[in-house]
């Protein structure tokens, strides 16, 4: 059998399938390819794979969640009652701490305004450096899922 016939078969195997009956070499290659195609893909043991973070994540155990939240709320209310405080006191305390923070911030800004030019420039440089570092760190892509 000529190479020309083999090439013709390779160009269009379906149209020239009769060539296989006359050429032992092409027939052997076709048989080998068919055997490879029939091989089943290697089986994957799913249980051997590590547990993905999303597996079972949508489950909601409401009795446990509501029970724990209720216990925490009851303990908090009981302690507030024993200490002679109302929940409003806690809110007021939080607002007071915010007020303290605001006062400290205003004090820092006032001292910056009254500081020497050198100190103001140093503060500006520190501000730019820290924010530049923040931007550099924010540029890194998260790797959690691929880790």
């Amino acid at each position: 059998m000529t190479d020309q016939a083999c090439e013709k078969y390779l160009e269009d195997p379906e149209a020239n399938s009769a060539h296989l009956r006359t050429c032992a070499k092409c027939n052997a290659e076709a048989m080998a390819l068919a055997e490879k195609a029939d091989d089943a893909p290697p089986s994957i043991d799913l249980d051997a794979l590590p547990l993905a973070p999303w597996e079972g994540s949508s489950h909601r155990a409401w009795p446990l969640v509501l029970g724990t939240a209720a216990v925490v709320a009851i303990v908090a209310l009981a302690l507030l009652d024993a200490a002679g405080m109302s929940p409003l006191h806690v809110v007021e305390g939080s607002l007071t701490s915010m007020e303290v923070l605001r006062t400290q911030l205003n004090r820092a800004a006032t001292s910056l305004r009254s500081a020497s030019l050198g100190a103001q420039v140093a503060f500006g440089v520190a501000f730019l450096l820290v924010n530049g570092l923040l931007i550099a760190l924010l540029r890194r892509a998260p790797r959690g899922i691929d880790a």
Binding site: L64, V72, L79, A83, P87, L134, L137, L138, G144, I145
Partner: protein
């Protein structure tokens, strides 16, 4: 190693709380001297305030996990996968918030500082809340999360994002009640949380900045 860690972590917490309570407690606790009524009242009020804040954290954590559980999970996974990056980012972000707030306060006389300061405050508070809830999820998963599929299938209640967050709140809340050590650990958790929230863009895993690429002809 993890088994050892799981065993030793609660023991360490208990031991640290006992030592800290003896060292930092009022004079009446363990070292002689009488505990006055004023000391006891102050301690009770402090504990009551912490417990009330924990209850608020619990409800906020449950609500946010119901609204965006997947984002919280992504952030939690990121924190466990690259803890050092999240911590460094948190430290830098807090420093940046403080310096930026001082700059905005500097701008208050020019009528520009107030809205900027308000926006920064809202952003910082939201970042802290989201990040701390991601920390709750991470701690809950580290301590009580399933390691294998068989373990997961055998569990009826201890599975799912919501339960992991609740367990995290309870554990961190219990640690928060320890004098001296509690606030420090809570502050460290906040640093981790802020870093994680920013590193994952609030669990959306999108880049903060667009990359410029020239069009190829």
């Amino acid at each position: 190693m993890r088994r050892m860690l799981r065993l030793f972590l609660p023991l360490t917490v208990v031991a640290a709380s006992l030592v800290t309570a003896i060292m930092a407690g009022p004079p009446g606790f363990g070292r002689g001297g009488a505990l006055t009524i004023g000391d006891a009242t102050a301690m009770l009020q402090k504990t009551a305030v912490i417990a009330a804040l924990l209850a608020v954290w619990m409800f906020a954590a449950v609500a946010l996990t119901l609204l965006s559980g997947r984002e919280i999970r992504y952030s939690s996974v990121e924190m466990r996968a690259s803890a050092l990056h999240c911590f460094a980012l948190g430290l830098v972000a807090i420093t940046s918030f403080v310096l930026t707030a001082i700059v905005f306060s500097y701008l208050i006389p020019y009528h520009l500082g107030v809205p900027l300061l308000f926006a920064l405050g809202v952003f910082a508070i939201l970042t802290k809340i989201y990040g701390t809830i991601a920390v709750f999820h991470a701690i809950g998963t580290l301590i009580a999360g399933a390691r294998t599929r068989d373990q997961l299938a055998g569990r009826k209640w201890l599975r799912g994002d919501l339960v992991m967050v609740v367990i995290g709140v309870v554990i961190l809340g219990a640690i928060r009640l320890i004098p001296i050590v509690g606030p420090i650990i809570w502050a460290l958790a906040s640093v981790f949380g802020i870093g994680t929230a920013l590193a994952t863009k609030f669990g959306r895993r999108e880049p903060w900045f667009l990359a410029y690429r020239a069009i190829e002809s």
